[in-house]
Amino acid sequence: MAIGTSTDLGSGPAAGPGLVPAAGPARQPRLRLPRSPKVLIGLAGMIGFLTLAVIGPWIAPYDPDRSFSTTASFPQPPSAAHLLGTTQQQQDVLSQLLAGGRSTVLVAFVAGLVATLLSVLIGVTAGYTGGAADDLLSMLANLFLIMPALPLLIVIFGFLPPSQGGDDLLIGLIIAVTGWAFGARVLRAQTLSLRSRDYVESARITGERGWRIITHEILPNLIPVLASSFLFTVLYGVGTYTALAFLGLVNPNHWSWGGMLFYAQVAGAEQSGYWWLFLPPGLAVALLGTALALLNFGIDEFINPRLRAAGLSRRRARLAGAGGTAARPPRRFVLGVTPVVRGREPR
């Protein structure tokens, strides 16, 4: 019985009288977000990486700059003394990996925070005021969206004197300038739809001031979208910072995962089979990005419940019904099983 799976998510309309017990507990308010395994993995990963960013440089076994040998001229493979081997300069890779996390995470979060602030400022203003200001700000956002960011950043950092290329805050700030447009566009659209809702109208009629309506009526309803756009920008920040460091554009004496990839490329690691030079930092970046993206998936599913595949998974279906057919999740495109939690918006 496929209907059992839909009541499991508390979608009222399909629930027949025999399914009332299943609908009962679903009615209670609960935090739905952390239930999906995707979100749990993403959350665990994020906490792990944040912890690493804080304590990484302290638990590194050696000074990442220290050279261990003046005679060896090739990167040494992993050994007991150096768990992830050494670089061309005979520095400890593990120490660099642990020390490099901090600046990568810091730059990405600075970029995410600043870009989100910018996108709220521009997106919500555009959506709320409308008219000519909206047209102008929307065009600005579209313009930044369409301009290829990485080549632009490469030109900017190319002209920046090397002495200033190592400041994490400055790098994050510059990345943020190129990364706010996506969030602004999404927030503007959402603000536009909120602006004409009844409760906002009534707040306006009772004489609330514009900024109060924005901060008290509109912003709280933007939080899921805001969170999603923040994570997206952090993800963008990780990728962009890594790319810039990989090109050697930000101070290479300042350890970061992208910087390690830069030195791996200089040492010809991929041509010579020195996998321990590029695999650890590359995997670290990829896993950090995956954690962020998984969290973002969770928020997307929270905003749009139709995307939830988890509601149809075997385990949940088995829990929902005891019958032989109910234990089988729908494998094909079958109509009427899609969990629709909210009613469709009137058009």
């Binding site: 002209f159 991929e270 089979g273 996998w275 995956t290």
Partner: protein, 326 residues
């Protein structure tokens, strides 16, 4: 075609903005680019004319005001003059870019088209069989999407060229001089392009898969799909109806994606020593060849704008609602 003319107007404004930014960056950044270029050019003969051209390019000798320089910059640009590249002798930037552009367009263009088609088809499949084993593929695609393109390039070379020896590990062809075109040459070029193209496809297809899946799932709830199903149409037919409508957001989201793909592809070129724009961008960065950097930025921006315009045309062609709005 009011929609198209409005889009063209927007792209024109974007192009002007990009050119203005390109003009302003060397003038507002701290430091003196002319000195940096001269320092890198040690050992080369620098004539007065070259020095003057450099100063004009970066605006360090301000005999004319900022506006005058801006007009001058535009006039140079319209005459096809992007300045002088200093990293490899003194060569006009346009010559350097002309040598690299075909490689990038061939590689990135082909890989993007393959990735779009493949990703969209897979997205339809994943949405159709939602809840099945294909859904477990999604986290894997997330991983490939989150991994930097150039990291995947490292892996691809290490695995498929060095350890397995299936493909050449870098460069675009064996013979550096261009022989007469024949099948051996074409095969050689293709052989060198497979691995970088594969890297770009694997890295970028994930975005199309997830996007298509999400829209497709929403579309399958529409009434017309229900009716098609109720009429007893074959499943493939029903999915085709839904997919045709679900693809629209993918095409309109093209502008967001193409920038990422091109940026990633440029970095992939660097790892593969593929002689396209990305590779000469690296040499430009290393040699403080600012004019070349600026020129590459402009060319890439224009290419992205043209790609977007093409996507807009396709969109208008596919969606009659857009045509009616005008």
């Amino acid at each position: 075609m009011r929609v198209i003319s409005r889009r063209i107007g927007f792209y024109l404004i974007t192009a002007i903005a990009a050119i203005t930014v390109d003009f302003l960056i060397p003038r507002v950044m701290p430091g003196n680019p002319v000195e940096a270029v001269l320092a890198k050019m040690q050992g080369q003969v620098v004539t007065k004319a070259t020095l003057h051209a450099l100063e004009l390019q970066f605006g360090s000798s301000t005999s004319e005001g900022l506006w005058g320089q801006y007009v001058h910059y535009w006039s140079n640009l319209l005459h096809g003059n992007l300045g002088i590249s200093t990293s490899n002798g003194l060569v006009p930037v346009t010559t350097v870019i002309r040598g690299a552009l075909p490689w990038t367009i061939g590689l990135v263009g082909t890989a993007t088209v393959i990735s779009f088609i493949l990703g969209t088809l897979l997205g339809v499949l994943v949405a159709w069989r939602r809840g099945g084993w294909l859904d477990t593929l999604l986290p894997a695609t997330t991983f490939f999407q989150a991994a930097p393109y150039f990291f995947l390039a490292f892996l691809a070379i290490d695995l498929f060229s060095i350890r397995l020896g299936w493909f050449p590990p870098g460069s675009a062809r064996n013979n550096l001089d261009f022989p007469a075109f024949d099948w051996a040459y074409a095969g050689d070029v293709l052989d060198h392009a497979v691995l970088p193209a594969l890297t770009i496809v694997v890295a970028s297809a994930a975005g199309w898969i997830v996007g298509m899946r999400n829209v497709m799932i929403t579309t399958m709830d529409e009434d017309y799909v229900l009716i098609a199903q109720a009429k007893g149409l074959p499943k493939q037919r029903v999915v085709w109806y839904a997919a045709r409508n679900a693809i629209l957001p993918s095409i309109s989201g093209f502008s967001l994606a193409i920038g990422f793909v091109v940026s990633g592809a440029l970095l992939t070129e660097i790892v593969f020593s593929y002689p396209g724009l990305g590779f000469i961008m690296l040499t430009a960065v290393q040699d403080a060849d600012y004019a070349l950097l600026q020129g590459i930025f402009l060319v890439i921006t224009m290419a992205v704008l043209v790609a977007n315009l093409a996507a807009d045309f396709v969109y208008v062609f596919l969606d009659p609602r857009i045509r009616q709005e005008a």
